[in-house]
């Protein structure tokens, strides 16, 4: 009996422990699932980086940007992650406050964005504007403003993402807040009437939209580029809203407890290289942050007249209260 038991335990440990055969240094990057998926930019970027680093780059895919941060907070000082990739400007202050991230020493001068990027912890890797995407063959008169969508268009069915788990969802929450201010409760209630479902992550809602379950889905102004370039379809459009569009800048940071700091810093510089940035437009379907050439189709995209954003500190301070506002509006 004892022998069988110990055999069983050995067997279990054998099966349970992953085998570390590779002697190469391994760089672990936590990111969101669509970045790391087969059709996302992850695999190409991994191949590019491994060409010269003599290392093994591994993406650990989590549901969404918020999950990436929460996973780090749960693991604390003993995280396996060397790099977090996929937090955004709204989460930066909360992420910094955990004290689990370290500063980088990357040359930021190649960044070409409308605002000057000076952050010592985070390096941006792409940016974009949230927008509701629709199929112009089915919907011929899209709303012209967020207010029109919320207050007048009872004929529309929409899908968006949960602000607690998804960065686009959080983006919509902040977009609504910046347009409606203190009257956001009423607006959420009106929006709830046209909401088919609130999904956990972006991928689920976008695939539901493509299956025809809703008229509009919360995504990015750049999403139509995917359909034009990858599928040759022109019917998918982003609705341009007169109030302006909420901006998202996606960022990466090095984890303080990382045991591969040197490699991690190499990866951080790699983020701003052409090899990485050139994969963004047609891989993650966002705007690159450096001066790499954009595909022609990007010229046909809606470009917001006004970009909205809250400061990351303000979001960190008020996110909880604003999320509660959203929750309560949806319960009655």
């Amino acid at each position: 009996m004892n022998k069988t038991l110990s055999n069983l335990i050995t067997l279990a440990t054998l099966i349970a422990t992953p085998v570390f055969a590779a002697s190469q240094e391994k760089l672990t990057v936590y990111t969101y699932s669509s970045f790391a998926s087969d059709w996302g930019p992850g695999p190409k970027i991994e191949a590019e980086f491994e060409k010269f680093c003599a290392c093994d780059l591994e993406f650990i895919a989590l549901d969404d940007g918020v999950s990436v941060l929460n996973r780090l907070r749960l693991e604390g000082n003993n995280s396996e992650a060397d790099i977090l990739l996929g937090l955004d400007n709204n989460l930066m202050a909360s992420a910094k406050k955990t004290g689990l991230l370290s500063e980088h020493n990357i040359d930021l001068s190649t960044i070409k964005m409308s605002t000057d990027w000076q952050d010592k912890t985070f390096v941006p890797f792409d940016y974009g504007y949230f927008a509701f995407v629709y199929n112009s063959e089915k919907l011929t008169n899209p709303p012209k403003s967020l207010k029109e969508l919320v207050e007048q268009r009872d004929d529309l069915k929409i899908i968006y993402q949960d602000p607690r788990t998804s960065t686009p969802g959080l983006g919509l929450m902040l977009w609504m807040k910046s347009v409606y201010g203190d009257e956001v409760n009423q607006a959420w209630k009106q929006l709830a009437k046209k909401t088919i479902t609130v999904t956990k992550g972006w991928s689920e809602s976008y695939s539901m939209f493509l299956k025809g379950e809703a008229d509009m889905v919360l995504s990015y102004t750049t999403s139509p580029a995917y359909h034009m370039i990858a599928e040759g379809k022109n019917q998918f459009q982003a609705a341009s809203f007169t109030e302006g569009h909420y901006t998202q800048t996606e960022v990466a940071a090095v984890v303080k407890s990382s045991k591969h700091k040197k490699l991690a810093n190499e990866f951080m510089s790699f983020i701003l290289s052409d090899a990485f940035q050139s994969k963004i437009a047609t891989g993650n379907w966002m705007y690159p942050v450096t001066d790499v050439a954009l595909p022609e189709e990007f010229n046909q995209l809606v470009s917001p007249t006004k970009s909205l954003s809250f400061s990351s500190d303000e979001v960190a301070a008020k996110r909880k209260a604003w999320t509660k506002e959203w929750l309560i509006s949806l319960t009655d």
Binding site: A12, I15, A16, T17, P18, S33, A36, I60, A61, L62, V66, S67, L69, N70, R71, R73, L74, E75, G76, N77, N78, S79, E80, D162, R164, T165, T197, V198, T199, K200, S203, E204, S207, M208, K211, E213, K320, T323, K324, W326, L327, I328, L330, T331, D332
Partner: protein
């Protein structure tokens, strides 16, 4: 006369064979306390009143009670005519139907949810029928509707079994007397059958209420929007979505309080009876059968068959689709499959071993009439019933996170929590057989000096092989289908079959989800069939 210290009496009465069980029981209790406390340590102030002043938490508390009450009402109410009909009628396939009833409670929740979605979902069979007639499905399965439907699917058959067992316990004499007195349907129901059902009613209702109140996977899959969230799910959301440990701890404390009150209440309501798989009651004879009564009974039997059979059937039908081989050749499937088997196997082994030792201790007390001690030691080990599994796994992880990595710890924590969650059910199913065995052989063993290993092999194992293996199966199936212990740890790199199924459902890959649901169904039903088959073989060999 010297004063006798109660502790000395306790120690003097304690036999060596009881010590491991006693230590285990206390160990498990402390283990749970420490894990829960680890989470509480992250929240400086724990004021349950804060929940009552927060409109959102007030809403989910009300919703938890509301959906549990409705689910219980529907399950218990419909179980009365259905069990009555099943009691009075014999028909082809009755035994099979009752076997199906027994599976609904141990069936992995998500498998049932998948089956229900395939029938009642937006693109399910029913929606297809409506579409054929150019109309649309008048309800949505997501939200309260779906939660109620799933809870009734799980618990109505369970309530039916409880009531049926009570009805089967009516002595022959009463049936004869009723016939002599010329009682017709209504009067016989009122004076003979109803009192039997009523005796079971509080216990059944209490149990079902508790199960629905702390339901997690069902609500996560079918509700989950802010409107239809239970406390159990809100704990998960606070921890996983917001990493708000303080709110998580607060809600956990709130849930533990409510569940403890409920548990005590149920305990007070009635002494529980154990469900047997044997439904052979006395031959039920009644001489005033009528065409109308037949119609009434069989329509109820049809109703319950329509509730239970189609979703299970759909799991099988939908599972055999074109994606079948694609999924089965996917490495992700095999990784999840491996994790599920590992977790379920070890959790079952741990749960049954713990239960065995704990029952060795408690039955010794029962033999000498100290039922109070016996109840208490068993209760210590079943504390998990009032503690959300997720809270324990989070607490454990926070305790251990400095000594190991997430991915290496996750597996062990999930095994431990699953073992804990299976333990109450194993204790319940093993306690009677073990007590009977002791009553039969305790004195014999003492007189011929059979102890320890010999006693285990020649007395316990020889007689209890079947219940032990059944308990192993039960805990295996419970663990293989569990979603609450793994929920926190799941990622695209570490998943189990239920979690993989949940991810696929979440991303609307219904075809692949169908395959996983079928695999889980086969796995959980198959284990029971294999064990049953093994025993049949053995018995024929012995004869």
């Amino acid at each position: 006369m010297p004063l006798i210290n109660p502790l000395t009496v306790f120690v003097r009465l304690l036999k060596p064979v009881q010590i491991p069980g006693l230590l285990l029981s206390i160990g498990i209790f402390l283990f749970v306390l420490v894990a829960v406390n680890a989470l509480f340590a992250y929240s400086p102030v724990l004021e349950v009143t804060a929940i009552l002043s927060d409109p959102y938490y007030r809403h989910i508390t009300t919703f938890s009670f509301y959906q549990a009450a409705l689910s219980t009402l529907l399950s218990v109410l419909f179980a009365i005519p259905i069990s009555h009909a099943l009691f009075r009628r014999e028909f082809r396939g009755k035994a099979l139907l009752l076997k199906l009833f027994a599976t609904t409670l141990v069936l992995p929740v998500l498998v049932a949810v998948f089956g229900l979605l395939a029938i009642y979902g937006n693109s399910g069979v029913l929606a297809g029928i409506f579409e054929y007639f150019d109309s649309i499905l008048p309800f949505s399965i997501f939200g309260l509707n779906g939660i109620l439907l799933a809870h009734v699917f799980f618990n109505l058959p369970f309530a039916c079994r409880l009531f049926l067992q009570a009805l089967n316990a009516i002595p022959d004499k009463q049936h004869q007397l009723a016939t002599h007195l010329g009682m017709k349907h209504w009067n016989k129901f009122r004076f003979v059958e109803w009192p039997q059902i009523v005796a079971q009613l509080p216990h059944a209702a209490g149990l079902i209420f508790m199960l629905c109140f702390s339901s997690f996977a069902t609500v996560m899959a079918l509700g989950g929007g802010p409107k239809s969230t239970t406390i159990e799910l809100a704990i998960y959301q606070a921890i996983k979505f917001d990493f708000d440990l303080q709110t998580g701890a607060l809600l956990a404390l709130w849930q533990i309080c409510i569940c403890s009150v409920l548990a005590v209440f149920i305990q007070k309501l009635s002494r529980s009876s154990s469900l047997t798989a044997n439904y052979q009651g006395p031959k039920n004879t009644f001489y005033h059968d009528s065409w109308l009564a037949k119609c009434w009974d069989f329509s109820w039997i049809i109703v319950i068959s329509l509730l239970v059979i189609p979703p299970l059937l759909m799991v099988v039908i939908a599972g055999l689709n074109t994606q079948f081989f694609v999924v089965l050749t996917d490495i992700k499937f095999w990784l999840a499959f491996k994790n599920s088997l590992l977790i379920a196997f070890f959790a079952a082994l741990i749960a049954v071993s713990c239960a065995f030792f704990i029952l060795l201790a408690s039955r010794q007390w029962r033999l000498i009439g100290l039922n109070g001690y016996a109840d208490k030691i068993e209760m210590l080990a079943t504390i998990i019933l009032v503690t959300p599994g997720l809270v324990i796994s989070t607490g454990l992880f926070l305790l251990l996170r400095d000594i190991g990595h997430f991915s290496s710890l996750a597996l062990y924590i999930v095994i431990a929590v699953n073992a804990l969650m299976a333990l109450p059910f194993v204790l319940k199913s093993l306690s009677l057989p073990m007590l009977h065995n002791a009553q039969k052989y305790e004195l014999l063993c003492a007189s011929i000096g059979v102890f320890w290993w010999h006693r285990f092999y020649w007395v316990e194992w020889k007689a209890l092989r079947r219940p032990i293996l059944q308990a192993l199966c039960l805990s295996f199936v419970l663990s293989v289908g569990d979603l609450s212990a793994i929920a926190l740890f799941g990622s695209h790199n570490f998943s189990t079959l239920p979690l993989y199924l949940f991810q696929l459902l979440g991303s609307y890959q219904m075809q692949s989800a169908a395959v996983i649901a079928l695999v889980l169904l086969v796995l959980s039903v198959g284990v029971f069939i294999v064990v049953e088959y093994l025993f049949k073989e053995r018995r024929t060999q012995h004869d």
